[in-house]
């Protein structure tokens, strides 16, 4: 109790109570306990789960709602769009029939576009995040554990990757990746762009996590328990899996929670720049692209994807913060 600010006694006090609580509880359980007490964290978790559920259940939702994201309602049914292609009804054509209104020109249903769009964005983001997390873990641990030349080399590769102007590079390269994946006169499948996007996002995304984990492993390597394991003749695999990895789950979990929304926004940003998903696949980024063209006449079409993305990213970031707090109560933010 040597600090003048208010935090000190508070921490002191909680540490007193927690030492009592801590009896017989694993760090995981403790984390879960702390997390449950964090109201913001729980709410964000619910929102995030909601988004995932919507993505998974998109066809069910669409079936119950009775629309799909592909039919050109506005064109097939007269009276919904005016001559210029804008919804006739106010607020972007919101009605009991079309909850979030209609897409200008093509007249597709915005609600189902949004619901299916989550699938695209989350699908790409989740796959990219998983791949780059695995890559980051493997490379980070290998570099940190092997040390020496391997570490030096990996370190330089990471520096190099982080020095690339990423957005620019991805835009320039998307056509190349496309052309590598599919011969020029074949029908490009719908998933092609998704694969290209995932590859490009992953190519630049792994480095940050790898660098962080490398640092962690470097400091863990010299810690007593690892030294002890080495002295007792444990195999490198055992040291990595039994000694190192368990201590890395916290930063890995935190980092990947932060990576996922970053990937969702990166995907949307690339679509906005015109190198994202093509037509027919509902996609938030392309909705933005279209929305920024028509916003003067139909601001509603911008607001729905905008707010949806904002809510998702805020919830995910808050969740990341809460997880960090739950793991590491000392950092009070």
């Amino acid at each position: 109790m040597t600090t003048p600010t208010s935090t000190a006694p508070a921490v002191d006090a909680t540490s007193v109570t927690e030492t009592q609580e801590a009896v017989g509880r694993s760090p995981g359980q403790l984390m879960w306990l702390r997390f449950r007490r964090d109201r913001t964290g729980v709410i964000s978790a619910i929102i995030v789960i909601f988004f995932f559920l919507v993505a998974i259940l998109a066809p069910v939702i669409a079936a119950v709602y009775g629309k799909n994201p592909y039919t050109l309602y506005g064109q097939d049914i007269p009276g919904l769009l005016n001559d210029y292609g804008y919804p006739v009804a106010p607020n972007g054509g919101i009605s009991s029939e079309y909850w979030f209104g209609l897409e200008p020109s093509l007249g597709r249903d915005v609600f189902t576009q949004l619901v299916y769009g989550i699938r695209t964005s989350l699908g790409i983001a989740v796959v990219a995040t998983i791949i780059m997390t695995v890559l980051g873990i493997v490379i980070g641990i290998v570099a940190g554990y092997a040390g020496g030349k391997t570490d030096y080399f990996v370190g330089r590769v990471i520096d190099l990757t982080l020095s690339f102007p990423q957005t620019l590079f991805i835009i320039a390269f998307m056509p190349v990746v496309d052309s590598i994946l599919v011969a020029s006169n074949e029908e490009p499948p719908v998933w092609l762009r998704a694969v290209s996007l995932t590859i490009m996002l992953t190519a630049f995304g792994w480095a940050g996590l790898a660098r962080l984990l490398r640092g962690q492993v470097l400091s863990l390597r010299t810690r007593e328990f690892v030294e002890a394991a080495k002295v007792t003749g444990a195999s490198p695999a055992r040291i990595v899996f039994k000694e190192l990895l368990p201590n890395l789950w916290t930063p890995i979990l935190i980092q990947s929670t932060l990576l996922l929304p970053a990937m969702v926004t990166a995907e949307a940003g690339l679509s906005f720049l015109g190198v994202g998903m093509g037509e027919l696949v509902p996609d938030w980024g392309r909705m933005f692209l279209r929305a920024t063209q028509v916003y003067r006449n139909d601001i509603t079409y911008l607001i729905f994807p905008g707010v949806a993305l904002l809510v998702f990213v805020v919830a995910f970031n808050l969740l990341g913060d809460s997880i960090r707090d739950a793991f590491d109560p000392k950092i009070k933010r």
Partner: protein, 595 residues
């Protein structure tokens, strides 16, 4: 040279083909000046826009100065905003309409179009005292240069410069410009026949008896050569100051302005050419003292700036950046913009070509035509104010003697007749054909594709949509062995004559050529040759129109595509702004800055 920018490559291909192939465009045998003589005869069917009337002017018409628009004020600085900087400044490399429009400020040619009144133009002598004198049945053309025409450095423009201008267009580095004159002078692969004047060799059939007179001797009659000379590509280049390839970086001015500064892709500043005499120029008003050209903004942003009309943007306008569909409602509904709007339909023809080598059953082609969602595409493009729905191959706004017809009931059922299409497909024996639709992968075309796919699939046609890279789109679809069934293509006449359309889009089939439907029957070729050689221009026009319908009835090689309507804005202090109906850009000739 009515070329829309995005189809530049395709049209270049056409140009090259036109001279290689058998059907050189032109109204062979027609009397001089006749091609447009009957322009006043036919009013187009749907006529909110009056088609331009273009006639042949006299020597008197060819005298300067230009006819001033109402309320003209001289002086001031005008700002022009557009998306793209000009690809070429060397006249020999200029083919695209925007480049040509810029050329009007800097370069002069032998002939040009003089604005008499709104929608009324005359072909007159520009540097020449009149629009040229044909002799020897149209094989020989003689032009006399006006007195007092000078280069920007004060040197007189001579017949040697004109000869040099044409000769240098044979040089290997000249690959973008028009090629009619070169072809007519040699009547073979002109690039092989003559390699340009840089190695000292001259072309014998361009004669310069004196400093003022220049005589062209073609191998065959070309009664409309004076129209060809009006193309910006034939604007003159000084023999003494020619820098070959580097001339593309900035021409020596013969026009009213000289380039003071140019930042590539961003801006130009043009100031007056002291050696340009308005009294020699019947075409260019050149009212502002200074032109500022600004590039790099999208049509959307340019429109927003012009709508806002604030501060310096009040004296701004745009040559080419039409109001994009997503702003059209706002712009057309705003009564305050009424006197700042210019509206003009495209002078070009646009088609969705069937690949006749692959879609062999005419019933299928007809079914597609019936099912075609014209109205939905129109809506996607911004509605009736953004696109018209023509039903004929020849453009109603630029075709003399236009006669409407409607084979596929587009006037009554613009949204498509799915039942009729199904019926035709049933008759064809293949009720569920697959159509590979190739499209240019731009955001707009992606949307249009969605609409087309949606409609055709309702009729039972399986649509495989194949996006093509926008840089290689025209290359891909103009391959004769392409793997696609349906694709969009455009074509525009190089001067106002119906004969510059049909013989080209149904001409010889070649890689990179313009016949993208691959429709090429001896019968049709013979018919087109016959019409081309008809000396009676009215009869020929009628015949072209009849052939138009016959082709669609007999072969159905294409779906007539929507025809864009450009709405363009100008600032409140810009006067004299008008869309040139042939070039489909705002002409610089009449622009002035209001006080």
């Amino acid at each position: 040279m009515n070329i829309r920018r995005r189809s530049a490559f395709a049209l270049l291909a056409a140009a090259s083909m036109a001279l290689v192939g058998a059907c050189a465009p032109g109204n062979a045998g027609a009397p001089a000046g006749a091609p447009s003589a009957g322009a006043s005869s036919a009013a187009p069917a749907a006529a909110p826009y009056k088609p331009a009337v273009i006639t042949l002017g006299t020597a008197e018409d060819s005298k300067g100065p230009a006819i001033a628009p109402e309320g003209v004020v001289k002086g001031g600085t005008v700002t022009m905003i557009d998306r793209d900087d000009y690809a070429h400044l060397d006249p020999a490399q200029v083919y695209v309409n925007t480049d040509a429009n810029m050329g009007l400020l800097l370069n002069r040619g032998l002939t040009g179009y003089k604005r008499i009144a709104k929608g009324e133009y005359k072909l007159v002598g520009d540097l020449a005292t009149d629009a040229g004198t044909p002799s020897d049945g149209g094989k020989t053309w003689t032009f006399t240069l006006k007195d007092g025409v000078k280069w920007q450095d004060g040197a007189p423009i001579t017949s040697a410069d004109v000869k040099w201008t044409i000769e240098r267009m044979f040089a290997p580095f000249v690959t973008f410009g028009p090629s009619y004159i070169q072809q007519w002078l040699t009547e073979e692969d002109y690039k092989k026949a003559y390699k340009g004047p840089y190695d000292g060799k001259e072309l014998d059939n361009i004669e310069t008896p004196d400093d003022k007179t220049i005589v062209f001797k073609f191998k065959t009659p070309h009664a409309d050569a004076n129209y060809a000379f009006a193309m910006a590509g034939y604007s003159i280049v000084p023999k003494a100051k020619d820098t070959k390839e580097k001339y593309d970086q900035g021409p020596v001015s013969s026009g009213p302005y000289i380039i003071k500064s140019h930042v590539v892709d961003k801006s130009y500043e043009l100031v007056r050419n002291p050696n340009w005499d308005p009294n020699t120029d019947p075409i260019r008003g050149a009212y502002p003292d200074v032109w500022k050209l600004e590039f790099g903004q999208e049509a959307l942003q340019i429109t927003d700036r012009l709508v806002a009309d604030s501060g310096p943007d009040q004296t701004a306008f745009t040559f080419y950046a039409a109001v994009p569909p997503e702003r059209l409602q706002q712009v057309l509904d705003d009564p305050n913009l009424a006197d700042r709007r210019m509206i003009s339909p495209s002078p070009y023809g646009n088609y969705y070509y069937f690949n006749l080598d692959r879609v062999k059953d005419q019933k299928v082609r007809q079914a597609v035509n019936f099912a075609w969602p014209s109205k939905q595409i129109q809506q996607t493009l911004g509605g009736p104010n953004a696109a018209a729905l023509p039903t004929t191959i020849l453009n109603e706004n630029t075709t003399v003697g236009y006669e409407p017809y409607d084979l596929f009931e587009k006037t009554t059922k613009p949204e498509g007749d799915i039942e009729k299409a199904k019926q035709l497909l049933a008759e064809s024996g293949n009720p569920n054909p697959t159509i590979v639709y190739a499209y240019n992968q731009t955001p707009v075309q992606e949307q249009v594709t969605v609409v087309i796919k949606n409609a055709l699939e309702k009729a039972g046609i399986k649509v495989v949509a194949k996006p093509l890279d926008r840089k290689t789109y025209y290359d891909s679809i103009s391959q004769t062995k392409n793997e696609f069934d349906l694709y969009w293509g455009g074509w525009g006449a190089d001067w106002p004559s119906g004969s510059t359309v049909m013989p080209i889009i149904f001409g010889p089939v070649s890689d990179g050529g313009q016949n993208m439907s691959h429709l090429n029957t001896p019968e049709l070729s013979a018919k087109m040759k016959e019409i081309s050689e008809n000396p009676d221009i009215d009869a020929a026009n009628k015949a072209w129109m009849a052939l138009d319908k016959e082709v669609q009835e007999k072969y159905t090689p294409l779906v007539v595509a929507e025809n864009r309507i450009a709405t363009t804005l100008h600032g409140s202090k810009v006067g004299g702004a008008e869309i040139d109906p042939q070039q489909w850009v705002v002409s610089p000739n009449t622009i002035f800055v209001k006080k």
